[in-house]
């Protein structure tokens, strides 16, 4: 039992930490909204509360310090400056480390922990704990403190009547007042006029109300925040001296009238009861409400209704209601939908094979079935799709830590955080992105003095962008550093024997040498990137997801990594083709154009090279059957169909296949764990007749065939990627 409650706690922690990071990021951006500060405060507070319940003392202690500092920020006792924000960021990172430690076990960095605690402690005002409030029992009025020390102090009249439900949830008015007293000078007056005689008193009913006067420099929202946890459990009206006092009183009366059955016959009954209430601050407040002010009263009611409506609207625009579902269940559903799609194509095939004279009606219905299946599939996919925001937020931390470790200043700007990507993709993207970002800080961004010399802002900027682009997701990491040093890269590649010394390489080919295994440009091994593991790890991870990664660079202006990923890992649109008697599927996204082959289009180049002429330009031909080892003899006969594909670095190639059958949606079945990585094949799918067809990977087919022609070492690269 405890286990499952704890799991829930940690799940919530993750969400809270995300909210906290988002809030801090907004504050760093210059968000002045007190609600943002409150949101962060609440997140830390909730983590502390939950951790307390499970006896996670270290977490509680740290969260408490963190929270205390934030509370001062919230009450404007502390000014948020750059230094404090950085500290808060580090504290938030540490807090999430502590949560992870509590969840998975493991040791936290004690030294770091102590440093942060003492750094936070510096900000904590010792007098802070002193309360103006002195508990004197219920109904005791408090001495008004010296008025208006701060210019903007406002006096708020708060009328508070707890409903009996509030007591049932264990809330205590005393603590609320204590919290209010923290905000400023509080005067409390008990209204016990509702109290019936002992004989009429009902057990558990709430009869008491309070009138509070708070003089404070705080905003209204911070007062409301005090009552946040009893929202809906009490009748509350807050009015400041700026408000029409009469209207406020009318509102309070209205609340009283609606809430308390005793006063239900006439609002006026409740009103006189308020008369004895002294108005210590606002002398001009009316002592009585005249009958002719009833129109005002009505107006007040309307205004209140409007306010309520507005509040509701605000609520609905807040976090949408969500449902926690085990990932397993979603995956089962996805599998079932995959089977449904396969089943549809089987049905379609059976009907086509039927010896019936008129199948048109059935086909129409089948088309409807197909559309429904597609709707369901998209719906299920949408369940798995998640915004990249949490991933990007984690990356902000990576950049922070990397800049701290290298002594450079780098800022992460994220764009397109709302872009939704399959959950698995997001999970498996974390490592490659971390690697790229560390690289960007370590190698991309120059040292501050070099930046200044180049006329750039001392702080480097790294842009992390996510966007949907024609059926795939594009993630870009762009830094404004020095760009790639192509001469150096080339030299290293030659030194390490990755390319022959006389290799003729285009700029983009040199850039992409970075992805070769065993390539690392860092002269000495820094503790960030360059642990002997190069960007080939990134490439492998992205390729495993069915994606592509490429790099482009402008000297002096920085470099950019682009990662293109499929939207989903489960279904894709494919072109069904036949190759040497085998049925295979080519992803539609890779195909630029298809054309029937004829002899005039084929041009020989050298002994075994062939080019296809398309409207005056020549494109190398790659025989799919040959490259997959399904047919050895290469003839100059034109193939049935050519599929013009474009690779990541812009090269075009014509894939020669025998025939095109169909274009359809196919369910991707991973070959992971079935037979390892097969060169030229990305996955498999099940066709309508129940047979398995290979899904081809045009990119690797093209690189395999073109690199063999360019230089031998490239083949080694492909083999390394393939294995």
């Amino acid at each position: 039992m405890t286990g499952s409650i704890m799991d829930t706690f940690f799940e919530e922690c993750e969400e809270l930490l995300e909210a906290m990071d988002a809030g801090l990021a907004a504050i760093e951006e210059g968000d002045q909204d007190p609600e943002t500060v409150n949101a962060v405060f609440r997140a830390v507070h909730s983590i502390k509360g939950g951790a307390g319940a499970f006896g996670l003392d270290e977490l509680v202690a740290f969260a408490h310090n963190f929270e205390t500092v934030f509370d001062d920020v919230r009450s404007n006792k502390l000014q948020l400056d750059e230094k404090l924000i950085q500290l808060l960021f580090r504290a938030s990172d540490h807090l999430s480390d502590l949560v992870v430690c509590a969840r998975d076990g493991g040791q936290i960095d004690e030294a770091h922990h102590t440093v942060l605690i003492s750094a936070l402690a510096e900000y904590i005002d010792e007098d802070e704990e002193e309360l103006v409030f002195e508990p004197m029992g219920m109904g005791a009025a408090f001495e008004p403190a010296p008025l208006a020390e701060v210019q903007q102090e406002t006096s708020y009249d708060i009328r508070f009547h707890p409903l009996k439900e509030m007591f049932a949830t264990g809330n205590e008015p005393y603590f609320l007042f204590q919290a209010l007293a923290d905000l400023g000078t509080l005067t409390v007056k008990l209204d016990d006029s509702e109290l019936p005689g002992f004989d009429a008193m009902e057990d558990g009913e709430s009869y008491l109300s309070w009138e509070l006067t708070l003089v404070t420099g705080e905003s209204r929202s911070s007062i409301e925040a005090v009552f946040e946890f009893v929202e809906g459990l009490c009748e509350l009206s807050i009015s400041s001296e700026g408000d029409d006092a009469a209207e406020a009183d009318a509102l309070a009366a209205l609340n009283a009238a609606f809430g308390i059955p005793l006063a239900e016959d006439d609002a006026a009954v409740a009103l006189p009861l308020e008369q004895p209430a002294p108005e210590p601050v606002e002398a001009s407040a009316p002592a009585a409400v005249e009958v002719e002010e009833v129109p005002d009263f009505a107006e007040g009611a309307v205004a209140e209704k409007a306010a309520v409506a507005k509040k509701d609207a605000a609520k609905s625009s807040g976090p949408k209601p969500t449902l926690r579902v085990e990932l397993d269940r979603v995956d089962r559903l996805i599998n079932a939908v995959g089977e449904l799609i396969i089943n549809h194509s089987m049905l379609a095939q059976q009907i086509a094979n039927l010896d019936a004279s008129d199948t048109r009606d059935v086909e129409t219905e089948l088309e409807g079935f197909k559309n429904l299946a597609r709707d369901i599939q998209e719906g299920v996919m949408a369940i798995r799709a998640q915004p990249v925001k949490p991933l990007f937020q984690r990356m902000a931390r990576i950049v922070r830590e990397a800049s701290a470790a290298t002594g450079k200043t780098a800022k992460l700007v994220t764009i397109g955080e709302a872009t939704e990507v399959d959950k698995t993709v997001i999970e498996r993207l974390a490592d490659p992105l971390t690697h790229i970002l560390r690289n960007a800080v370590d190698h991309g961004i120059e040292a501050p003095e070099n930046r200044a010399a180049a006329g750039k802002d001392k702080a480097g900027e790294i842009r992390l962008t996510a966007a949907h682009r024609s059926g795939s997701v594009c993630i870009e990491v762009k830094d404004d550093g020095a760009g790639l040093n192509r001469k150096k890269i080339r030299q290293i590649a030659i030194d390490k024997g990755l390319i022959p010394a006389d290799a003729e390489l285009s700029d983009s080919e040199i850039d992409n040498l970075l992805f070769m295994p065993g390539f690392s440009t860092a002269k000495e091994i820094s503790n960030l990137s360059g642990r002997g593991v190069g960007l080939d790890v990134v490439k492998n991870a992205v390729t495993a997801l069915g994606g592509r990664v490429s790099i482009s660079s402008v000297p002096g202006d920085g470099s950019m990594f682009s990662i293109i990923l499929p939207l989903t890992l489960a279904v894709m649109d494919g072109m069904v083709v036949s190759v040497a008697g085998h049925t295979m599927v080519v992803p539609i996204t890779a195909i630029v154009e298809t054309m029937r082959g004829n002899e005039d289009m084929i041009n020989n180049l050298g002994s075994d090279g062939t080019l296809l002429s398309i409207r005056g330009s020549f494109v190398p031909i790659c025989d799919v059957a040959g490259s997959l080892g399904l047919r050895t003899s290469t003839t100059n006969e034109p193939a049935g169909v050519y599929l013009l594909v474009e690779t990541e670095n812009g090269d075009r190639c014509a894939l020669a296949v025998d025939d095109i059958h169909d274009q359809r949606q196919v369910v991707i079945k991973s070959l992971d764990g079935v037979c390892g990585n097969v060169p030229g094949v990305s996955a498999a799918t099940i066709l309508g007749d129940g047979k398995i067809a290979m899904i081809l990977d045009p990119e690797s087919i093209v690189t395999a065939s073109s690199s063999a022609a360019v230089f031998d070492t490239d083949r080694r690269m492909n083999n390394a990627i393939a294995s």
Partner: protein, 155 residues
């Protein structure tokens, strides 16, 4: 090893015997998930000779090995008469092509003889014991040795 530990507890173990390239082999019945008639498989490009391809088993893609080629015997010309024995290796289904299934034999674990020393290392690894059945030698296959393919290790 695991097999022997298990068989100690039961008086008789049941084995399914089948022929591969004319020789008799067997697997413990609990290791077999199902036996299917051979159907043409989808060829995997660049696959080694003993990997015939992949097959659709109720929506799952499973690899099919040619046991004969795996044991270093001649490659099987698969036809309708042949069978695919589906076994589970490390929780993953794998299909093994055999010539035909013979019978279910019930043997006392004490009757299992150790594999005699022969010169071939592979044989020693793949065969974990032999049984004498009707004057014929039936070889007990060590499934983990047969299927721990280099591809799976590289994953």
């Amino acid at each position: 090893m695991q097999l022997q530990a298990e068989t100690k507890h039961t008086e008789h173990s049941e084995f399914v015997s089948f022929t591969v390239a004319g020789q008799a082999f067997c697997l413990q019945i609990t290791q077999i998930r199902e036996i299917r008639r051979w159907q043409p498989v989808t060829v995997l490009p660049h696959a080694p000779a003993d990997v015939l391809g992949v097959m659709n088993l109720r929506g799952a893609v499973i690899p099919i090995y040619d046991l004969s080629a795996r044991f270093g015997l001649q490659q099987t010309e698969a036809s309708e008469r042949n069978v695919v024995i589906v076994v589970s290796v490390n929780e993953k289904p794998v299909g093994l092509l055999a010539e035909s299934v013979s019978e279910i034999i019930s043997i006392d674990p004490d009757d299992i003889q150790e594999t005699p020393q022969v010169d071939s290392r592979n044989t020693m690894d793949f065969i974990q014991g032999i049984i004498s059945q009707n004057d014929e030698m039936v070889r007990i296959i060590n499934l983990n040795a047969v299927i721990s393919s280099p591809e799976q290790v590289s994953l």
